[in-house]
């Protein structure tokens, strides 16, 4: 029977950090990846990592403290987070980063301006907790892994800081000649670069990464210890791979499993932005052996655009709208033509408003909803990949008047006209008395600095007008097996399951319903991956 010390299920950032840690401790590691490509959601992500009290901030003279971090985490989890996990995260995120820096070529930079996602909460900071890496030259990877490194839907080799500098929604300002040159050389950026670095570090330390190798079942010995995995081979065989030390579940969320979504998520989520291999396999495997579950109704929510006809990995491509929603000259309305939320709010919390339930009408009144904007907006910003000079795509409705636009897409025309009049009457002064858009430091991190006095607000001006549907989506779900502070899975009675660990979106997130700041999901996944790797090395 083939044997190794540690099996990692899933090659996202959580799994590869566990792999790097275990391989760095001289353990024999095999990573099983279901897809033909390595990196999962992590590879299509922005690659930002949220790390309170990080040394890159402190080096710049910024300040932060463990107390602030813990106070903020308690507040953002509404006091429901497991304190042991929150402490474990806070105390280990920086050691994890030091370890990763030491064992890979990653160089991080702090983003001093990216505010926490709820900057008014106790312990929140207005910048400096988000760090971002650079580019990665994928030609460093050995064949065949080089061609198996997953790239984002755009595949554009750009850094997060360049995106911030050139403008996320002003694609015409990007240096496309430079980007094309990088791409021709096999250079990748953001999440792909993070995965490339972790993968490179792990394989240099002897880890084996198998693609197109979906794990199907956990194998236990007579004492109940998880000691292996049943894995499908390319030739259709099912083999048992034995693990001397244990198994780490790092197979991402269940957002692409409609049955699980319907059973577990409390909201009608229809637009997952991750690659479609995340079908909750790890969740199913852990349920099968009696894991305790937590946070099952939660996800890293977000309102998504679906440019019809775009697909990724043969599944519909849903694109996040982080900064698009914050731009002046647009607003979001439901079918009654009414706004219902501060459009510039962080995506996780804003999207929850898309799922509000009206008990009288017995429906979700904000589903569907649309981003409505004017001609100046259309001529100023890119909407998904539609640049201002591109022809208007068929997924973007347009009409010369607001009423006509409303009729075209199914909004109440009177409601929309009335809403825009009301919105404009305040926006002209840069104000939004109803939802306070543009008042928080988070809102104004984005927007358009050329628009004053409020960079996220101005009245809608001349037509033609445009509407794009926004869908309730997520970056990934974050409910699953409960773990202790070392990442070890605990069973339904609270007892650790020997030999089984979980990290990343497959596991119950320590952050509960909250999203602390940009990079918090990768940070948590990597930190608990690191802790699991350490625990396995010590076992």
């Amino acid at each position: 029977m083939p044997e190794t010390d540690v099996i990692i299920i899933g090659s996202g950032a959580a799994g590869l950090t566990a792999a790097l840690t275990a391989a760095g401790a001289d353990l024999e590691v095999t990573v099983l990846e279901k897809s033909g490509l390595i990196g999962g959601t992590s590879a299509v992500s922005g690659g930002s990592i949220w790390a309170p009290v990080n040394r890159w901030l402190l080096k710049q003279g910024g300040h932060d403290s463990r107390e602030d971090a813990l106070a903020y985490l308690e507040a953002i989890t509404l006091g429901n987070g497991d304190p042991d996990l929150l402490v474990a995260f806070t105390d280990n995120v920086n050691p994890m980063l030091e370890f990763v820096v030491k064992h890979t070529g990653i160089e991080f930079e702090v983003n001093p301006d990216h505010p926490d996602y709820q900057p008014h909460l106790p312990g929140a900071h207005t910048g400096g907790r988000t760090i971002q890496g650079g580019l990665f030259d994928s030609s460093q990877l050995p064949e065949p892994l080089r061609d198996r490194l997953r790239k984002s839907s755009s595949g554009v080799p750009i850094t997060r800081l360049e995106v911030d500098t050139w403008g996320m929604d002003t694609l015409e300002n990007w240096d496309w000649t430079l980007l094309a040159d990088r791409m021709s050389k096999g250079i990748v950026g953001m999440g792909s670069a993070l995965i490339g670095e972790l993968l490179h570090g792990a394989v240099q330390r002897g880890a084996v990464v198998r693609t197109a190798a979906p794990a199907r079942e956990l194998v236990r010995d007579t004492a109940g210890r998880v000691c292996g995995v049943a894995v499908d081979g390319e030739s259709g065989t099912r083999d048992i791979l034995h693990a001397r030390r244990g198994v780490v579940l790092a197979s991402g969320g269940f957002e692409w499993n409609p049955d699980f979504v319907q059973r577990f998520l409390g909201r009608p989520m229809v637009a997952p932005a991750s690659p479609p291999a995340n079908t909750g396999d790890g969740l199913a495997m852990s349920i099968a052996i009696g894991a305790g579950l937590g946070n099952m109704s939660e996800a890293w929510w977000g309102p998504m655009i679906q440019p019809t006809g775009d697909s990724y990995d043969n599944a519909p491509l849903f694109r996040p709208t982080s900064s698009l929603r914050t731009l002046p000259g647009g607003l979001i309305v439901n079918a009654r033509g009414r706004r219902f939320v501060n459009e510039a709010m962080n995506y996780n919390d804003m999207a929850k408003a898309l799922a509000n339930f009206d008990p009288v009408a017995y429906s979700y009144p904000n589903q569907p909803c649309w981003l409505v904007f004017d001609e100046r907006f259309r001529k100023s910003y890119s909407v998904a990949t539609c640049t201002p000079d591109s022809p208007t795509p068929n997924w973007m409705a347009t009409a010369s008047t607001l009423a006509e636009l409303a009729r075209t897409v199914g909004i109440d025309p009177d409601g929309l006209e009335h809403q825009v009049r009301e919105f404009n009457s305040h926006a002209v002064r840069g104000e939004d008395p109803e939802f306070h858009r543009g008042e928080s430091v988070y809102d104004t991190y984005r927007g358009d600095a050329r628009v004053i006095p409020n960079r996220t607000l101005r009245p809608l001006e001349e037509g033609p007008y445009y509407a794009v549907p926004l869908l309730l989506g997520c970056l990934g779900t974050k409910g699953g097996p409960l773990t202790d502070a070392s990442g070890q899975v605990i069973d339904i009675w609270g007892t650790p399951i020997p030999g089984l660990f979980a990290c990343g979106n497959v596991a119950a997130s320590a952050f509960g319903t909250g999203y602390p700041g940009a990079g918090a999901t990768l940070a948590a996944g990597m930190t608990f991956g690191y802790l699991a790797g350490q625990a396995l090395a010590a076992s």
């Binding site: 000649t177 980007l179 775009d310 043969n314 640049t387 022809p391």
Partner: protein, 228 residues
Amino acid sequence: MISGTHTVEIDTSPEALWDYLMEFDNWAQFVVGFQKFRIVDERTSVWTLRGDVGVLAREVDLEVVMLEQEPGRRATYSITGITERLEGTGTFEISPRGASGAQAASAARQAADAEPSTMERRKRQSWWRRLVRRWALATLRRQHGEYARAQRAESSASRSSGPAGSASAQTGAAVGLGAVFTFALEVTPGGPMAPMVEMLMRPLLAPSAEDFSTRIREQLEGTSHARD
């Protein structure tokens, strides 16, 4: 501007090939990423193509307008992106096979080798562009596998249409009824992302042109079963 040209010999008369080409239904499915097309009027049609670049795929609508046509010999179409910024042309050229046909094929091949200057001179640039660039990649990978199989299967017929003309055309050995068919595609992506689009599409155009013309030959000669 990026381009791709391919020439094949086909065992059919130039007239029959012309009639075949004038019916889009006959070959639309051989266009990389083909989804659907709609005839607008005598000269104009609108095409929806799906292009793949790696794991990303996108559908693009293109307007195709007949620019010039010399029945039995040549037809040129302009291609303009409706949903993406791109322009281009696609040209069919037909000549009879035989001694002069062989020369025509070899001339066509030389023209293909000298593509950039020839194309600039002709001032009929661009085509499918960025759409195709993306869609073409994944699709072509798939098609290449099939095509390679088809080529292996028919290697005994020794009618390979390698880059720039078949072996039989180059040696002048072809005999009997036949037509030399050249398909040329030129695309100029527009907009700020043009450098990236060009970079991605450049390697795809020549294989697209080859795949297209080869599939037409296979269908007309009844060899498409070789793909299975």
